[in-house]
């Protein structure tokens, strides 16, 4: 008999889950309230992150799956294998870069250490005198909203329905207006929106700002990230900024990044934007002379340990969680979807699923 599935959320994670379920022959109904989430607000950087072994395992696995999709992705998805340059400001950071290289190599992720001169040749817009960089050539970029839409379109047996979910209980879904739906499998993949349906979930919003410039083709070639990014990305309190710039295929520069906790205020905050841009200009001095055309904010759904929740709800059989991807959901969507489906259908996942088990947080927090 055909498995009936409902996926809540048509962002990149929900779309990847729906496509993976359809691949296994399921009939999938995707529900989305159209309000948009982290998929449309983020950068779309496909990046191997190594802050802990589980994060590296999931990002590396997912990057391989993105590579497999690459040939099929239509041009509107704007996939580019630009690679990442992790920038080292001084010798101390260069030592961090070498440590990172060793960690990545353990998982089979290739990288190359670049000295001052080689870095200056590759990215002449960077300020002079940086110690060097670690180049990770397997990293890439993608336009995530287009990729999510494509994942849903290309899958047979997937229906997208605009609808706002009011309540979820196990395999039962109640829509606004009272309509009730049921399925064999319900997947909650609506990012921070899941908190409204399951208030006890260990999710916190982490606000970010981004800014995009007019088109300046040829100025930057790689995704440029400061090595201090990871330290900023893992702060759990206060406001932090880190340099992170992406060259869009149009020649526009997408400038990040910032982090703020426990606010759901959507407006752009000039003080935070100013700090973020000052950081960016410190690395790319000529950025100060370019025109910005837009700035916006978004919210990452963060778990206490920074890893997503992938698995069945500990107290609600039939309800599966694909949540808490924080700033890495675009990277890890395909791996998350495959891992979740393996668990659903009783196959062994290709990576250890335990670090992402939704029940890992203290009793009463996760569920």
């Amino acid at each position: 008999m055909t498995t009936q599935a409902i996926v809540i959320g048509a962002g990149i994670v929900g779309a990847a889950c729906a496509a993976a379920l359809a691949q296994r022959g399921a009939k999938v109904l995707v529900l989305d309230d159209g309000r948009g989430g982290a998929t449309g607000a983020g950068m779309g950087h496909l990046v191997a992150m190594d802050d802990n072994p589980a994060e590296l395992a999931l990002t590396h696995y997912s990057l391989g799956l993105w590579q497999g999709l690459r040939a099929q992705l239509p041009e509107r998805c704007a996939y580019r294998g630009c690679g990442t340059l992790w920038l080292a400001a001084d010798e101390q950071e260069m030592a961090l870069a070498m440590g990172k290289q060793a960690l990545l190599a353990e998982q089979g992720v290739a990288s190359e250490a670049l000295g001052t001169q080689r870095l200056a040749q590759l990215e002449p817009m960077l300020r002079a005198g940086l110690a060097g960089a670690l180049k990770v050539p397997g990293d890439a970029i993608v336009y995530a909203p287009a990729a999510a839409a494509w994942l849903l379109q290309q899958a047979a047996g997937v229906t997208l329905r605009p609808a706002t979910v009011q309540a979820v209980q196990g395999r039962q879904v109640t829509l606004q207006g009272g309509e009730r739906l049921a399925a064999d499998i319900v997947v909650l993949a609506n990012g921070f929106g899941a908190k409204a349906l399951l208030p006890a979930l260990a999710l916190r919003p982490k606000k970010g700002h981004l800014l995009i410039t007019d088109r300046y083709p040829g100025r930057v070639s790689h995704q440029l990230v400061e090595l201090g990014y990871a330290a900023s990305a893992h702060h759990s309190e206060g406001t932090s900024v880190a340099f992170n710039v992406q060259a869009r295929p149009t020649g526009q520069l997408l400038v990040g990044s910032s982090r703020q906790f426990d606010t759901l205020e959507t407006r752009v905050e000039p003080a935070v934007l100013a700090r973020m841009l000052a950081r960016a200009v410190a690395y790319l001095p000529a950025l100060a002379g370019l025109n910005a055309i837009r700035a916006w904010t978004g919210f990452r759904a963060a778990t206490p340990d920074g890893l997503p929740m992938l698995g069945e709800h500990p107290e609600q059989p039939g309800l599966w969680l694909a949540l808490g991807h924080e700033g890495l959901g675009v990277t890890t969507a395909p791996g998350s979807a495959q891992l979740l489906c393996a668990l659903m259908f009783g196959n062994a996942p290709l990576i250890d699923a335990r670090p992402y088990a939704p029940g890992r947080f203290a009793e009463g927090q996760a569920a």
Binding site: D214, Y216, T250, L290, N291, I293
Partner: protein, 77 residues
């Protein structure tokens, strides 16, 4: 005064913006979108960013830039 629009000399009155000069020259198109569609000044007050152009070698907003004699204005990009 004379300004150069896509390398063609255009006579415009003094004191007008580049956005006004586009209309004066007969086509208010300022640039093309990523998919090749024409874009033109919309808000006229420096907010919508639709009139960004190459003006004397710099990316600038046509609606926020006054014409000056000999100015080079390009619609490309």
């Amino acid at each position: 005064m004379i300004i150069y629009l896509d390398q063609h000399a255009v006579e415009v009155p003094g004191g007008i913006t580049v956005a006004a000069a586009l209309a004066y020259a007969g086509s208010s198109a300022s640039r093309r979108s990523c998919t090749g569609q024409h874009r033109a000044p919309f808000c006229g007050m420096g907010v919508c960013q639709e009139c960004r152009m190459q003006i004397d070698g710099q990316r600038r907003l046509a609606c926020q830039t006054l014409c000056r004699p000999g100015m080079q204005v390009e619609r490309s990009g």
